[in-house]
Symmetry: C2
Subunit: 178 residues, 2 copies
DNA sequence: CTTGAAGTGAACAAATCTGTCTACCACTAT
DNA sequence: ATAGTGGTAGACAGATTTGTTCACTTCAAG
């Protein structure tokens, strides 16, 4: 990806997370990134495509980060699934925590057929698969349970600002898993 | 509340839920409700105030509905807390399920200081209190756990369209409670 | 009968939104 | 050298946004 295009996506992603998708105008993204409008529309056909590109990038980044955490935990002899909640905890207590891009996106694009909503659903599904891969085959149905705990923790942390939401979820995960 | 004002709030609430808050223009609310713009601004100082009024109404309605379900369950000798998940299940499988107004609102108004975000937080907190009132005093801290399961189920049902999300949450609630 | 409250309809302002287009610049590989 | 690529600056269009204002109507209560 060309550096200007990359910078555009990075800036857009940050602004979408801070202010929401509809509330973030294209002019603000351009001003903040220092990219010209013509360049934007050379790389993307519309604002929606920019949103999709930003979310796809975020999707890959999150999946990568979680995979790394899981691998590290397993090498240390710990539970890969529980490591996810430690990662959540770090996220919730970082300065940049403003909720999950995908939950927020499917809130704004409520129509299940909308490409942005569908991408959000795919992201959540991909995380479920990551969890499932950590479970013994006869516990596969627990993946949805763990995924539900993850999303519940995210909402709790975001809407009410409960910083230790990840540990509340983790406690329940332990009961479910063992 | 005057009937026209009431009708305005009802229409607005439905549209906000369907299309989101920023995406729903005031002109659409007016056209769909048949109310004139001057009337809107006689009753509300701004669109944000209309949003707040709609959410406050929804807040009271939801609390009332949950309380009723809990009372009915208790009279039948069942768990009041578990009855919440049955109510969720009905909601998820109704035609009008488009996610939780308050989760969606705090997604669009991400700033924790924004009145709309704060109202959403208050709503979620009020539900936690309702749950807490159903728990024995030494289990009070389980209210946040149950609340997390509720929100997790809502997200699961909305973003991925998992219709039985309420029962997945209910299964975990049973383990937590007993 | 008249006053006041509630509502209508429409025009209007002012800002903001996405998207298009033109003319131009800088660099790099052939 | 020259063609192609990627980028800039900025004007512009056209639609849409929230919010204001004015003249008029309807109707019930004192």
């Amino acid at each position: 990806m060309q550096p200007r295009k990359q910078h555009l996506v990075d800036t857009a992603l940050a602004l979408f997370n801070q202010q929401g998708y509809h509330a973030t105008g294209i002019d603000l993204i351009l001003a903040q990134s220092g990219v010209s409008k013509a360049t934007l529309y050379k790389h993307f056909r519309s604002k929606d495509e920019l949103i999709l590109a930003a979310l796809e990038q975020r999707h890959l980044h999150v999946l990568n980060a979680i995979s790394t955490k899981i691998d590290r935990a397993i090498k240390a002899g710990d539970s890969g699934v529980l490591a996810i909640f430690d990662a959540l905890n770090e996220w919730f207590n970082s300065e940049q925590f403003l909720g999950c891009n995908f939950i927020n996106a499917s809130a704004e694009y409520g129509d299940a057929q909308h490409p942005i909503h569908r991408l959000s659903a795919q992201h959540k599904q991909a995380i479920i698969e990551l969890i499932r891969a950590q479970l013994p085959p006869n516990d596969a149905e627990k993946a949805d349970q763990i995924g539900l705990l993850v999303d519940g923790a995210i909402v709790m942390a975001h809407t009410r600002g409960i910083k230790n939401a990840a540990f509340i979820a983790k406690d329940m995960a332990k009961i479910i898993l063992f």
